[in-house]
């Protein structure tokens, strides 16, 4: 018998392959873990529809559960309600900042903020370079104080 709380703990070790400091729990994509008669079902919601990381994440979940002796794992993809960056944990936001990515700013979905705090020096004197950064979920900004470019995880 596998306890749901154990599964959640194991899943915290599964990282976003493109942002390895962020676990899938921190990212808020694990929506539910169910366990009926020996079968564990993990419900995840995709971040971006075309995100290539989703396939890798599903595989990593299966591998992780198997490593803990759960061979009957099922991954269920739920589209609705649509994933939002509001589901990202506070710990996840801090991990992003420490990694050099400015975390999402609530309420700016669809329209990017003119300036977001620089994750390196904290300056607010920053500007948008491009709405699309190294991946679809990020935009590229530049800090006018420390002169470094940085990624901003967009509100979604």
């Amino acid at each position: 018998m596998t306890a749901v709380v154990d599964v959640l703990g194991w899943l915290d070790a599964v990282k976003d392959p493109e942002i390895p400091v962020l676990s899938i729990i921190d990212l808020g994509i694990v929506r539910a873990v169910r366990q009926d008669e020996g079968q564990v079902t993990v419900v995840i919601t995709p971040t971006y529809t075309g995100c290539p990381a989703m396939g890798v994440i599903a595989q990593d979940i299966s591998d992780t559960l198997r490593a803990h002796g759960v061979n009957e794992a099922r991954i269920e993809i739920a589209l609705a309600p649509a994933w939002t960056t509001d589901w990202m944990t506070e710990r996840g936001r801090e991990a992003l900042r420490a990694y050099g990515i400015a975390p999402p700013v609530a309420g700016t979905c669809g329209a990017l903020p003119a300036s977001v705090a620089c994750p390196r020096c904290g300056s607010a004197r920053t500007g948008l370079i491009s709405r699309f950064g190294s991946t679809a979920c990020k935009a590229l900004y530049r800090c006018d104080d420390c002169r470094e470019p940085f990624d901003h995880f967009k509100c979604h």
Binding site: P46, Y48, T49, G50, C51, P52, L79, A80, P81, A82, W83, C109, G110, A111, L112, I129, S130, R131, F132, G133, S134, T135, A136, L140, K154, H156
Partner: protein, 244 residues
């Protein structure tokens, strides 16, 4: 149009435009735009996968998203003619994108109210991405339209050339009405408003509504479509079942 055809049409629009933008990867005018168009292409292909999977499910004949994308002939594609128009120069690419995005986001917003939870779910997810596409393409229409005399003329010409392909976006049919509980023509005022506002900010004229092209949604495509499909489908058709 049946429900199958309608969902197919949603998937085909995203697939064909995604394929067009993918062709620009490595050829963007600047690095940031190269990355942006690749990212938008990725979103659109992701959206196409969801609609085509659902279309296969509705059809119930065992066709997968890949079967529908790669093994259908031109006459069976249900995309609007706008998305198959060539990439042209950067003004053409961005004008096409803007005219599409302004409609696409409004359509997805309407589909969020669909009585079918599968359709509402896909629309709700993709709408968030479409909002970023729209702000990106509108930004370029304004920047180029209100830029130099040269960029202004190129953007005005692009909007003028693509205008006859915008009427088809609003062709109403019973299938679409059943899907969104409203007529496709109902989103036209919002689209017109968005286009008029952005073109005004871009110092561009809204072209007059004259003859409008149509037929894409019935499988009658322009001459660009055959070559596009040949490139997109060549590998899976020449090597059936091939895997990476």
């Amino acid at each position: 149009m049946s429900l199958f055809d309608h969902v197919l049409s949603l998937g085909d629009n995203a697939l064909i435009l995604g394929q067009q933008l993918s062709a620009l990867t490595g050829h963007g005018p600047v690095l940031e735009e190269d990355i942006a168009t690749a990212n938008i292409a990725l979103d659109l292909v992701g959206e196409a996968r969801l609609w085509l999977s659902l279309a296969g499910e509705i059809e119930g004949a065992g066709r997968s998203e890949d079967d529908l994308a790669f093994l259908r002939d031109e006459i069976d594609f249900r995309n609007v003619l706008l998305v198959e128009q060539p990439n042209g120069d950067f003004a053409d690419t961005m004008a096409r994108q803007f005219l599409f995005d302004a409609w696409h986001e409004a359509l997805l917003a309407a589909l969020c109210a669909s009585a079918d939870p599968r359709i509402a779910g896909i629309a709700g997810k993709c709408r968030k991405e479409a909002l970023y596409h729209l702000s990106h393409s509108a930004g370029w229409v304004i920047r180029l339209g209100d830029g130099t005399a040269f960029s202004h003329d190129r953007m005005q010409q692009a909007v003028r050339n693509l205008w006859p392909y915008t009427g088809e976006l609003f062709e109403a049919d019973a299938g679409g009405t059943a899907l969104i509980g409203a007529n496709a023509g109902d989103i036209r005022p919002l689209w017109r408003q968005r286009v008029a506002d952005t073109l005004a900010r871009a110092a561009l004229e809204v072209p007059a509504d004259r003859w409008m092209q149509g037929g894409g949604r019935r499988g009658i495509h322009s001459e660009h479509m055959g070559r596009l499909l040949a490139e997109m489908q060549h590998i899976p058709r020449s090597h059936p079942g091939a895997r990476w």
